[in-house]
Symmetry: C2
Subunit: 379 residues, 2 copies
Amino acid sequence: MVTETLSIKLKNRSLKYFSEHGAVIYISKKNIVYNSNIILKKCINKIIIPVIKSDAYGVSAKSLINILIDCGYTSFFLGRLSEGIEIRKKYKNIELFILNCGHPFNIKHLKKHKLIPVINNLEDLKLWSQYSNRKDYCVMHFDTGMNRLGINLQDLKNLSDKKYLKNINIKFIMSHLTSAEDINNIMNKEQLNILKSCAELLKIITKKNIKTSICNSSGIWLGKKYLLDIVRPGAAFFGINPILNEKNPLKEAVSLYAQITQIKDVAKNSTIGYGRTLTVKKDTRIAIISIGYSNGLSRLLSNTGDVYIKEKKMKILGRVSMDLTVIDISIFKDEEIKNGDIVEIFGPNRSLEKFAKINKTIPYEILCTMAKSNPKIIT
Amino acid sequence: MVTETLSIKLKNRSLKYFSEHGAVIYISKKNIVYNSNIILKKCINKIIIPVIKSDAYGVSAKSLINILIDCGYTSFFLGRLSEGIEIRKKYKNIELFILNCGHPFNIKHLKKHKLIPVINNLEDLKLWSQYSNRKDYCVMHFDTGMNRLGINLQDLKNLSDKKYLKNINIKFIMSHLTSAEDINNIMNKEQLNILKSCAELLKIITKKNIKTSICNSSGIWLGKKYLLDIVRPGAAFFGINPILNEKNPLKEAVSLYAQITQIKDVAKNSTIGYGRTLTVKKDTRIAIISIGYSNGLSRLLSNTGDVYIKEKKMKILGRVSMDLTVIDISIFKDEEIKNGDIVEIFGPNRSLEKFAKINKTIPYEILCTMAKSNPKIIT
């Protein structure tokens, strides 16, 4: 079903942004709340800690966190120390975890801004054990097969001096799945078992029960036994499909629009844009739209991609430039189209998932590389 | 010649940024000044108006403008109204031109923030003529073959009511070359001639001499007759090569670095990262580096790209993730490498130009999509 590109009410509300910025990102609070409710329903009695790293996947952590706080969440994962410091400025009473505290491991900074570190290696573990107080929480990250950040089970076993583990206050331990979106992948079970072994070993050493976490967004769809104590959804709030090759159970919450800046007719055999990479085969009506590779439309789509106007697909002509792109609007009559008309890059007529596919990437990368400068409107 | 990845002095100055942000962008003021001097030498007696649109090609307009003001420039081109408003907040006495004023054409806003519009179509021309004062400057943009923004010569000829042109105060007229980086392209000359015809026609209508401009950065290397009255370099300040398939006469001024966050040894037949797309054929020492597709290292480089450590090329293993990437550092001995060591994405060991090539794009797109969140250090 094809839906309206942008409601007139919404368009009128955002005219100023289109005129000043060229492109506008819409964030649907309704859909984020819908997705949150799906997550809550699947994770009853679990602790849910949303991940809003990389500026909430490029969409704006400050925009998202307000919505998520309204939904009742009180703890969040961030990627870097700088993100934690930024969010802490405004939000004093929420719990903030830092996935990658960087090097050198800056305990003074963490404590100053009340940030909880995720400890990824033995070097940081030793420092934390030495300089933190018993009341300062940390999270321990185990690498159960991703071969990325995290302490290996074997490292834990080999750790000659176990005092490091007794001196610290472990809020929970976590790991990260390599193939969570693929429900049939045997790796998921393997990783789950390794994390459980880590928890058991830690229990023996510390004489305490240890809470565990392995699910990112996709993990939540792997079944109840993966939910453990704590789940860490991120992309699911934006409705990125958590399951490979299956119908999306969530509603996409981000869409991207630009406006027509100029319309003109070009004669047969004219060339379009930089490098004259395209020659029009017939008289063609073109529109120049106010978006380019600097703000959300990759240069990869030169001569191959398309955008939507009034629910119809329009081909991109020539190279995408930095903040402008040319499209073929020959199918419209004079009175049907005008300067200022809205162009959908992804949204109701084409999902972010499909748009990512034609960009030969995944929705996460599309969101992360959309211009930070595009204004975000929460609808 | 291979040069040092990052001087110790510079590294020590930026440790805090690496630890807090993961990746750091360095801007070489010395090289920007060098490039500016080359431009000045080639454009003696010409008016030079730097283009710092799209947040100075993603590198930060606020960082660049200070350097350029120090170099003596007093006028600048920006892409959108929002960029002009932002820069005007801090800089009261410089001349700011807006390349794309958007729709609806907001004269009130332009005047309020003392921004000079580039008029791209007859609709905006009529509005400007109706509502601007005789003392308000504008620029007229002619489309001489790009088939993107701009008024065509034929439109100008057809304009039935010439009063629109007599009522306005044209600072200069401009056009944009499709193939400026290709010195042998006949289109350059054609476009130059069309712009000259536009100026002649305008002179007849307005009874005034009209200043002209056709050169972007590359245009400056096409020869003196292209310089006209005003030139508009942008990318050249950053040292992006202005000439196709020729040695770069400029010095690149932007480089990107990350740090090693963790080092580990993985056994033969281990898989790396999301989707387990790579299996190591032998025991391998890996480093996890603090950069991913959200902050400057495209997912396209998964399993194919590389980065530099201590002047040596390291292969990317597995998929690039959002803010982390895994590389093969097997060639280093224990004592040769450690957490916190600096990784070059592009810089002294690999030019931005070469990095763009392996990303199947142009340097402009690399700069524009590097994370705005990466701190910029001016060296």
